[in-house]
Structure formats: C-alpha cells, structure tokens
Symmetry: C2
Subunit: 375 residues, 2 copies
C-alpha cells in the first residue's frame, strides 16, 4: 500500500472513524483503525463492541482530497497515536506499508514508522441485506434522535429502555424513548412505505448524530437480524440492536385533560432552570407548578438553602383554572430544550397524573410526557 493525501482531509476522516475505537481494547487489534487504499479512494474503518464506523474518501471529489494511490493494500494502525500524529503533520501526507506491518508516514523532512497489526486479522464487516431499506432525510433523523434520546433509561434494569425505539408504519417514522418516569416521541415523514421496528442503543444514535451532523442528504437505514446500518455516501455506521419487546407506550398517553396551558417556551425554560437551583438537594429535583392570580407560579425550596418563587404570563388557558403539581425540574428542562417552537402547550390532568407537552398546532409531531413526583 502506498498513497499520498491531503493532511486536513485525512486527519478529519481518521478522527471521525476514531470515535468508534476504544483506545485500550482487550483485543489489541480493535484499538486500531483499518486503512485501505482502493483504486478509487481511501477507506477507513474503526469499531468497538457496539458500533462500526466506515468512511470512504474518494479520489475524484473535486480533487480537494488530493489523493494519489500508488499501490492498493491495507494496514491496521493504533488509532490514538496515528490520529494524533496525522493531526500534527504538515501537508501533504505520504503513507507506505511494507510486508512487515510497518507503516511509514512521511511529510516533508519528517519520517515516522508505526508498528501495525496484521490487517488480515481485522474483523470483516457484517453482511446486511439491502432489500429492507428506509430512506429518511438526515435532518429529520437527527431531529427525531435529539428530541428523544435524553429520555432513554440510564440504568440497565430493563435493557430495551436504554435504546430508542424506531418504528415505520405507512410513511410515518416514529422515534420513542422512555425511562418509565418520562416519555419522548417524535414522528417524521419518510419516502418509504413499510412496516418495521428496531431498538437502537442510545450511545449508537448519539454517535450517529455526530457523524452525520454536517450532512444534508438522505440516510439509508438497512436493518438485519441483530444489526442495523445507517448509510450516507460518506459514512456507514453499523450498530448492534437491542433485542426484546418494547412496551406499548401509546396506552400511557392520556386521552383527556382537565387544564391546558399555552406558554412561552423560553421563559418557562429560564424559570424552571432557576427553580432547579433550589431543588438540587431533593432526590427528585422537585419543583412545583401552580396557577396563582391567573399566572403560572414556578416554585421550589429546601430547608437548607432557601426558596424561590416566580410568576409567568399564561398566554391562554383551556379548562379548569386550578392547578398544583410537583415534577422533576430537570426532566421538564430536558424536554423543553429540544423544542424549537416559541410557544408550547402543557396538558394537566390532576396532581397525580402525568403532564403532556405538545406543539400548539393541531397535529403535534412531538410529545413529551412526564410523571409527577409525590411531594
């Protein structure tokens, strides 16, 4: 293998792929990145127990990549030190591998040699049947993930709850996450008619968001037994799936409400944020929402620190004007922060029933449900 490449392009791609690599893997070769020089570009692969990231840097692409392949081939080199070195080298980079797994990197008057791994021993990529393909806009997929991933369970008591539940029904693509105290869901239109569902670990989708954040085209989703592949023309991210049955969350969502408040989202976020300062001592970050003198009262307090109480405008109110409920302030903030709307509505159904946050528009594409705290 022998090639030259633009330093910036190589460094960026290595760093992206390196995100999948565990530096001190128990299996030494998995702490490496596989570099493959093909006829038409450079392919990079990194993996850990949960995901595989593959990036391809094509020769053609408007020539900005400045790639020149002298000899095809492959090598596996320790991710951390290789990424660090390439980042610190001047232009351009020349890489050469001889038969003895020694990777030579040259740049100007700088000569380095890395001891590599045996490329043949690197695991092969899973075969995924490309017939069950869902096509979705990258932006829509990113939004669906960001609006739900925070609500996945952090502990492993019920493994299915540690992932996002994606489902396709008709042309509707839904993402749902719940840790059984709160639930977040988001619906998006896709180009694909179908019927499918899968649970993807929250760490995998979080990494996916980073990998495709500057990409604006379509993402192909290929699912297989135990695996899923998210694919753009730049990057392929393979993830394991979480097996098991996801709970039927639709029946958790209340169908009626006693009170609906229409509120300015930004003011509410700031008010809840301040109230949380005084709630930190409580295990459940208890803050109280109530209606006082036709205003929303946000309050919180602890015997040690002190108290806070603030009043905010209610834009509109449907139903009963009486309300008092205690909920986890951080849960409320997590949900509100993902919403881009200026105004939102919150539905209440009594002190002991979950609250529901939705868009003010008739058909809300997102829904956040938060259970109350017994105070």
């Amino acid at each position: 293998m022998k090639f030259t490449i633009n330093q910036h392009v190589f460094s960026k791609a290595l760093s992206d792929v390196g995100k999948a690599v565990t530096p001190k893997s128990l299996i030494p070769i998995l702490s490496g990145i596989k570099v493959i020089a093909e006829e038409d570009g450079i392919r990079l692969i990194g993996t850990n127990a949960d995901i595989i990231i593959e990036r391809f840097i094509p020769i053609s692409e408007t020539n900005n990549n400045e790639i020149n392949i002298d000899q095809t081939g492959s090598a596996v080199v320790s991710a951390r030190s290789f990424i660090e070195l390439i980042r610190k080298l001047p232009e351009p980079i020349q890489v050469e591998v001889n038969n003895h797994q020694t990777i030579k990197v040259k740049s100007g008057d700088i000569f380095t040699q890395f001891n590599g791994f045996r490329a043949e021993e690197y695991p092969t990529l899973p075969m995924i049947n490309q017939s069950n393909t869902i096509h979705i806009d990258a932006e829509d997929l990113i939004e669906a993930i960001k609006q739900t991933v925070f609500a996945t369970a952090k502990n492993e008591t019920r493994p299915v709850l540690t992932g996002i539940y994606f489902s396709l029904s008709g042309y509707k693509f839904t993402a749902v996450a719940t840790d059984s105290q709160r639930l977040a869901s988001k619906v998006k239109d896709v180009y694909t008619l179908g019927d499918a569902s899968f649970i993807v670990p929250s760490s995998s989708v979080s990494e996916l968001v980073k990998q495709i954040s500057d990409y604006s085209g379509t993402v192909e989703i290929h699912s297989a037994d135990g695996y899923i592949l998210f694919k753009t023309d730049q990057v392929s991210l393979y993830s394991r799936l979480i097996s098991g049955n996801y709970p039927n969350t639709s029946k958790l969502i209340p169908t009626e409400q006693k009170t609906t408040l229409f509120l300015n989202k930004e003011s509410l976020v700031k008010g809840v944020d301040r109230a949380c300062l005084f709630a930190g001592e409580w295990k459940n970050n208890n803050i109280t929402l109530s209606i006082q003198e036709h205003k929303l009262c946000i309050s919180s307090g602890s015997s040690e620190m002190g108290t806070i109480q603030e009043l905010q405008e209610i834009k509109d109110l449907d139903g009963e004007a009486e309300l008092k409920i205690s909920i986890d302030g951080y849960f409320l903030m997590d949900a509100l922060k993902t919403i881009k709307d200026e105004e939102i509505k919150i539905k209440f159904n009594g002190t002991m029933r979950p609250i529901v946050i939705e868009s003010i528009h008739e058909k809300s594409s997102y829904l956040h449900l938060i259970s109350p705290v017994r105070s």
Copy 2:
C-alpha cells in the same frame, strides 16, 4: 442592608470572588461570600485556606454599575448557589437582608430567599503594613508569572519549590521557579527601588493572573510576615507565603557552553510536540536532539509504537558542530510555549549538562534551564 445593582456587573464580580471559595468547606461560613453594602459601593469577599479575594464595585464608575444603596450592611451567603442564581436572573437585581440572616433577592416577578450565615462570624482581613510596597505593571507581573509558574514543583517534598520565588534588587524584579529538574526565570523592571524576597504558592499566583488578566494599570505588592497582598483598584488578592529558604539558583546556571544553536521557535515547538507522541511510553518523555548534516535532528521512539525523526534548519551555530542529548520533551515544550520571540538560542554543554534557552538578544530577560535525561 438593601441595594439594587446591574445584573452583569454583580454576576461577574461574584464569580471572580467565588474562585477563592471552596464549595464544601469544613468551616461552613467559608463556603460563603461576604457581601457588604457601603456608602460608596458594594464589597465582596471570598476566601479559602490559601487566599482571600476582595472586589469592590464602586457606585460612581460612569454609572454602568447601576448601583443604588438604600441601606448599608453586610451578609454572608452560600457562594455556589448565590452565584448560580444571580447568573440566571434578569435585570436589575435587588438585594435585601433582614435581621434574621435571610437574604432576599428580587428581580422582576422572581422572588428568592437564601438562608445566610452570621456576617459577624466571617474572618476579618489580615492587616498589612503598606510601607513596603512594590509597584509593577500588571502586564509585566502576569508575564513573569506565566513564564515561570509551570516550573514549580508539583510534589510537596520540598515545600519552597512549590512556589514562585520573587525578589526585588535595585529596580529589578525577578521571578524564579524550579522543580530541581528544570528552572525558569524572568526579570522585569519596576518603579520601586528596594530589597525584598518572598515565596508565593503557585496556586495563588495562577489565580492572580486570572483575576487581573484584563487589567492594564499598576499592581501594588505589599508583603508582611507570612502574608502578601496584590492590589489593584478593582481587586485585592491576599495569599499566604511559603516559609523557608529558597535555594541559591544562580550557581546552577552554566557560565560557558560548547555549542549554541539559533533556532526558529515555532518549528521547534511543533517538532518537539510530534516527537513527544512517540515518547509518552517513557517515564521521562525522552526525546533526542542531535546535529545531522548541519541540521537539527529531533527524534524519539518506543519499541511498542514506532519511531519518529525529523530535520530542522539551524539558523546559526556557534562552537562545536557535534551534539547529542536526551531531554524531557514536555519540559522543553513547557518552556518554549511561554516564549514570544520568533527565534531563540539554546546553549549546550555536553550530553550530561543542562541546556539553557535564552533570547537571541545580548541581554535576555528570560532563562530556561533543563537537565538532560540519562538514556
């Protein structure tokens, strides 16, 4: 006590003073900030075992502070939560304290109450005799600290080495730090003729640099038995001094050299940085400098990872053209990074003797000495 104040001004000053406060102090009142409303402004004090920071926000100052004192007085309030709250409140802030140590903060429709400490129990500031005063430009003091503080000892085996040794002799103000493997010194002119010396903990001077970083006037240094005060018209920072005799470092500095190299500083930093990547495995971050074909060769390597070798231009050479020395690459980087000059000179005196880095100008105001590593 009762006053109103601009939120930004109050928040910034509280946050600066809060830098001195240990959040979970064993002595509860020391986890607080003392707020004093005086006739002509607001005074804030925070402290820990090593330093005291005092800031004064005057009423007059072009009225940007928007201070209005309704009633003088003082209170001590838990630093962390108070700083956080003030940061999150809208304009303007109104503070009021009643007799029961309850601090009431009001801003618009937001009402909070903090449980305070008994202000009378807060420690008083040390009395410092203002006769022995050194006047120095803030910029010069900051530069002297930055160019030496990294070389202070990290372990406490010899306590005096954990501080910077400042000395005034004639109109010369000198800062010296050494951990016995390396030494950094910087000389500055001051407005004061005198003869004094003191050892200030590295943590105190590091905090001082942050507190006066945007200040361009003169700093007054008042020393007393066991204490030192750095004072500008905005902030007073009191620090304990380290007692003991600082070693006579002048005799460590070689008076002759076999080889002097004149080098581009930026290229050298980059080259040493790259070589360090391959030296990490060694306890001493061993890199080797040598002369090869009239160039400086920087090399490093480990049996596990691989090797690096690069050649750099020598701008000029005095003395013997033969050289090979192993030193700690990170020590070299630490020293080089503090230097602003484009070109520097390094003096060598054989494989087992320390190297000296100086300005290329006849009279160098800085000096870095690094002992070699036995390879």
